[in-house]
C-alpha cells in the first residue's frame, strides 16, 4: 500500500473567493468593463428593470448580460431578443454565484469590447450577499409587494449594496408599503446606500437610477490604470 502524505494547507475558502473576486475586478479594470451585480428575491422585477435599463443605455454604452439561474434560460432569451449579448449561467441547484462562476460566465462574453456587464444574480436575499462576485458595484431590488420590513429580516443583503432600488412603485396603492419606513431602515443598516424608488413599468423614477448607473460606469472605465 502506498504511503499517505498529509499536506498542510490552512487555506480559507471564503478568503480565496475574496482574492479571486479582487483579481477579477483588476482584470475588468484593465479591460475597462464595469460589472454590476444585481440581486433581489425572486419576482421582484430584476429582468424588467434590466430590459428597461438596457433599452435606455444601449445607444451609448455597449452592454452584456450574465443571467444566473438555477435552471432554465427564460431570462437570457428575453435579453437576447433586444439584441444584447447574454450568457446564461446555470448554477445547478446552487443558491448563489461566487467569483469563479462569474469568471466562467464572463468568458462567454467578449468583455474587452463591452463597457458594462450586468450580472443578474440568483433570486435570493440570503446567500448572494455573502459571496463577492468580483462586481464593481452591487445593487439590490426590494419590490413594493415584498413589504417595507425586509431590511429588518435580511440585514446583510441591505448592508452590502451600493444602491437599493425600490421597485414596482406603481403597486403602491394596493399595498401597505411605507416608503419612509423602508428608507429609514435601509439607511440605518447602510448609510451610504443610494435609494431609488421606481417603476420599470411606468418609467417613474427611472431617470435618477439611469443617471447613477451611467455615472458609475463612466467613473470605473475612466480610472487611470496603475502599472
Amino acid at each position: 500500500m502506498e504511503e499517505i502524505k498529509v499536506i498542510e494547507l490552512k487555506q480559507s475558502i471564503l478568503e480565496n473567493n475574496d482574492l479571486r473576486a479582487d483579481a477579477l475586478r483588476r482584470r475588468l479594470r484593465r479591460e475597462k468593463t464595469f460589472l454590476l451585480n444585481l440581486m433581489s428575491s425572486p419576482g421582484s422585477g430584476k429582468t424588467s428593470l434590466l430590459l428597461r435599463t438596457l433599452a435606455q443605455v444601449q445607444p451609448h454604452l455597449r452592454c452584456g448580460v450574465l443571467e444566473a439561474d438555477i435552471d432554465s434560460s427564460v431570462d437570457a432569451r428575453r435579453i437576447a431578443e433586444i439584441g444584447v449579448p447574454s450568457v446564461q449561467v446555470h448554477t445547478g441547484g446552487m443558491c448563489h454565484l461566487d467569483a469563479a462562476m462569474t469568471e466562467t460566465g464572463l468568458s462567454g462574453l467578449d468583455t474587452d469590447a463591452l463597457d458594462c456587464v450586468i450580472l443578474e444574480n440568483i433570486g435570493n436575499l440570503v446567500c448572494p450577499a455573502e459571496f463577492d462576485t468580483g462586481a464593481v458595484r452591487s445593487v439590490m431590488l426590494l419590490s413594493v409587494p415584498e413589504g417595507d420590513d425586509k431590511p429588518l429580516k435580511y440585514p446583510l443583503m441591505f448592508s452590502v449594496c451600493d444602491a437599493v432600488i425600490i421597485s414596482k412603485l406603481d403597486c403602491m396603492p394596493y399595498f401597505d408599503f411605507d416608503l419612509e419606513a423602508a428608507t429609514r431602515r435601509i439607511q440605518g443598516l447602510n448609510p451610504h446606500a443610494q435609494i431609488f424608488p421606481l417603476s420599470a413599468k411606468t418609467g417613474q423614477g427611472m431617470q435618477a437610477w439611469l443617471d447613477w448607473f451611467e455615472r458609475q460606469v463612466t467613473a470605473w472605465n475612466s480610472l487611470e490604470l496603475d502599472h
Binding site: V6, E8, K10, I13, M94, C95
Partner: protein, 115 residues
C-alpha cells in the same frame, strides 16, 4: 444551500493538491468550521459525497472540526466564548455589549491527506 458551492471549492483544492503531489487518491480532508461561519457541517458531508463521485477524492473521509465563536470585550478586555450561537451577545464577565468577534467566522481547509 451554499454548502454546495463551498464544498465544490474544497473538492477543487483537494484534487489540485493531490495532483501537485503526484498522488492518485485524496484520503482525508480536515476542515475547520467556525460556529458563526453560517456553514452547517451536516450538509458539508452529504454534498461532498455527491460531488466527489468519480473523482480522485471519492470516498475520502471528511474530518470536521468545529471552532467556537470568541468575542473580545471593548470595555473590560475579557474574552467570551460562545460554543453555540446564543441570543444574548454580552460580555460574560462585565455584561457589556461592546463585543468584537475575534474568531469563529472561519472556514478553512486545514490538511489534505493523499496517497
Amino acid at each position: 444551500m451554499h454548502e454546495l458551492g463551498i464544498m465544490s471549492r474544497v473538492l477543487e483544492l483537494a484534487i489540485q493538491t493531490a495532483e501537485q503531489h503526484g498522488a492518485n487518491k485524496v484520503v482525508e480532508i480536515s476542515l475547520q468550521v467556525g460556529a458563526l461561519s453560517g456553514i452547517l457541517p451536516h450538509y458539508l458531508s452529504s454534498y461532498f459525497d455527491m460531488i466527489s463521485t468519480k473523482t480522485r477524492a471519492e470516498g475520502a473521509h471528511l474530518n470536521i472540526e468545529q471552532s467556537p465563536a470568541i468575542f473580545l470585550c471593548a470595555e473590560c478586555g475579557a474574552q467570551s466564548v460562545y460554543p453555540e450561537f446564543g441570543p444574548d451577545f454580552i460580555c460574560q464577565s462585565c455584561g457589556s455589549d461592546q463585543l468584537t468577534l475575534v474568531s469563529g467566522s472561519e472556514f478553512r481547509v486545514v490538511t489534505v491527506a493523499v496517497r
